[in-house]
Symmetry: C2
């Protein structure tokens, strides 16, 4: 069956993006941190906007905002689409907001053009994904999928010492009418944020990488979101005089670290895509030009879309680091600070997206998301899909973040077609 | 000719070392920075001490203290011996002070035992060598040898903004009777600190390295003080997302730096002793665990006792660094921040020291000094020699700095014998 020509008005979406970008604390780019006045105003604005375009608006105790088009045939399971509404400090106006603005625009267009869907559609504006204010990520989608309970809200604080719970209360959350139960251990739950009615999840997002731009393709069909391992390493040697200590009598923590980092890079290149391995932070002690470094501390960030390969790569690196340290008489301490599993997207949804791109005559490619997204919380629970559009020069989390109106419109068209197929077509 | 058994009283020297160590600002170890009240008291104490043991005391405009035994035959050229009286912050009690205390003790012993020398002997307590208060080194011996003129004293300041000149004035320097002339450009000269009567320079010092301890030898006969090159390097790549940027599309400044540091170490090991090459300070920007480093800044400290080999090693390193940067699409900026020439010690004096060690039945070895010393300022101008004694675990510039009374006494005996040979024996 050939589906009708679908073309939601991109101008509406672009206007909505600009409107959202205005909810920002002063400074370069967009800064809209969780539970700040700017964030609160943005979520209220979105509620009004969704209501105006005919969506049934509801919110949850953590401040996620949903807009619903109830299905005429089947309303038990929801086809959810959207992204997050928070930003990093001095971020761009596309990361997260694009997926929300496009979903609102697509659903408005579909409702106006085709009436109510057969199956229920909802747009989600998740309250938080970035982890920029509090030391946790995915607070929005994590509450919906049951990753978090309310106890976390009392135990984590921002840099000013404000607890997550206090920040929520300053925004009038948990909001009226929400249930805040306690479990057997007395932990406060936010059960009303948890949802078991999500049947599918679709997220449109900017790539935040350079792959689509480099390969000159319009659409990325995400096959999986990578799993991550993060470690902190301490390499301990002996600080000593840079002039009076012969090369053969040194335990130079930095020379040992340099060998480790070269091995890490070599292994990563050998492993091939999509594996990436990065040391982003490194500190040398005592850090004086004429003293041999006695200690180096550094981070490791390793990602792959396949759990086994991620695991075996990390093992290979740890073994090699241990060998290097032992040979050099250095002490090595490694601590794992993060471990997330790869999240494969649903193959049938990926295939559907490829067909849509072909129908629309768009260039596209399969790819892996090296960054984390809300979709990875849904993927273990229901079929999930992600659509990427190009990011200029791969830049994100920066005021320089940019995708052209044409690129954004192409993503909107693909999302609209997928939502139509999922919610409107007879199965 | 067999020289008499010479054995200056080590207890006097050890007592003087303890007395000097008491002139310190509070805190661990010894802290006696240039032109502080502690420094001033130490230099006055030394003047009294030298006078008490029968030396003719004189000082110069920068606060160097000298004690003289005038020669009966030849008093035109002075055989100078000593070291510096300042310390680093929280330093030990041997670095510098040992060479002064041993020289005073040796000269006292020689005068009492043998009367006036044939040729003039002087002990020098140089005011400054370490560069711990002001951003310059060798202020004491540098004024005696003409490296500095008074203009410097008005242009450099300590961390509290006090100029070197103001600090001098707070100690009553330039002292009464000193001439402070101006040259053609109006620069203030401290001509009376400059001396053209130094015929020889001998310095006894702790090794500040681990070579003597490792080789279980009592005396190091220094063949040369290394020349140094210091550089700061900036490696500039592209900061990017650690998850979304494939390995093949990175300009990772830290990965490039790791390759450079590994090459540096490999080249240094290949070059062999006495070459040493060290990166002691390294900073990564932006320094976030999930961001590929866009820039790394680091220091290079390269030392060798032969000028040509030092030069060719630095050239080889610079060429290699350039190749690595170019291959990786990184920008490399190198700035030389220090260049000192190697200072060979006088071969005849080295030979005399070896004979003395043999006569005294002491184990000894030829070695290179990887650290800088006042002797390097005299070496281009007159025959110079340095004697090293072991430093426990090679530790210096620390309250842990230690050499045993026996090790210190052995150095004193060698110094005493050399001074006797130079000043008392018929040539």
């Amino acid at each position: 069956m050939k589906r009708p020509f679908l073309h939601a008005p991109a101008t509406d979406m672009l206007e909505l993006l600009e409107e959202l970008a205005a909810f920002s604390t002063p400074g370069p780019g967009v800064t809209r941190l969780l539970y700040t006045p700017e964030w609160s105003r943005a979520q209220h604005f979105l509620q009004e906007k969704m209501a105006v375009v005919g969506l049934e608006v509801h919110t949850d105790p953590v401040g996620n905002v949903f807009g619903r088009l109830s299905g005429s045939q089947d309303s038990d399971k929801v086809i959810l689409t959207g992204s997050h509404i928070d930003t990093v400090v001095n971020g761009g106006k596309y990361d997260g907001a694009y997926g929300v603005a496009a979903a609102v625009t697509a659903m408005h267009y579909l409702a106006v053009t085709f009436g109510p869907p057969l199956r229920t559609l909802e747009v989600a504006a998740f309250c938080e994904e970035e982890g920029s204010r509090f030391p946790l990520t995915f607070w929005g989608s994590g509450n919906v999928t049951g990753l978090y309970n309310g106890s976390v809200a009392e135990s984590v604080s921002d840099l000013e010492g404000i607890t997550l719970m206090a920040a929520m209360e300053s925004c009038g959350l948990p909001n009226q009418g929400s249930r805040t139960d306690h479990d057997d251990q007395g932990d406060r739950l936010m059960n009303s944020a948890r949802r078991d009615d999500i049947g599918m999840y679709v997220e449109l997002h900017i790539e935040q990488g350079i792959i689509l731009e480099q390969s000159a393709q319009q659409i990325g069909v995400v096959q999986a979101i990578v799993g991550q391992r993060r470690f902190t390493a301490r390499v301990i040697g002996t600080a000593n005089h840079a002039g009076t200590t012969p090369m053969g009598l040194r335990q130079d923590a930095l020379a040992g670290t340099a060998e480790m980092l070269s091995a890490l890079e070599q292994f990563a290149v050998e492993a091939g895509e999509p594996l990436v391995a990065t040391t982003g932070r490194l500190e040398v002690f005592p850090g004086t030009s004429n003293v041999i470094p006695g200690e180096v501390q550094f981070t490791l960030d390793i990602r792959h879309s396949e759990a086994e390969r991620l695991e075996s790569f990390c093992s290979r690196v740890m073994t090699k680091f241990g060998e290097i340290a032992a040979r050099r008489g250095l002490k090595l301490e490694l601590e794992q600070t993060l471990a997330t599993s790869p999240a494969p997207m649903n193959p049938a949804l990926c295939e559907a997206l490829e067909h849509i791109c072909q129908e629309q005559g768009r260039s596209f490619r399969s790819m892996v998301s090296g960054a984390g997204h809300d979709a990875q919380l849904f993927a273990p629970r229901c079929p999930a899909a992600m659509i990427f559009v190009p990011s200029r020069a791969g830049i994100s989390h920066s005021p320089e973040e940019y995708s052209s109106p044409e690129e954004l419109a192409a993503g909107l068209d693909v999302l609209t077609a997928l939502l139509y197929k999922l919610a409107y077509e007879e199965s």
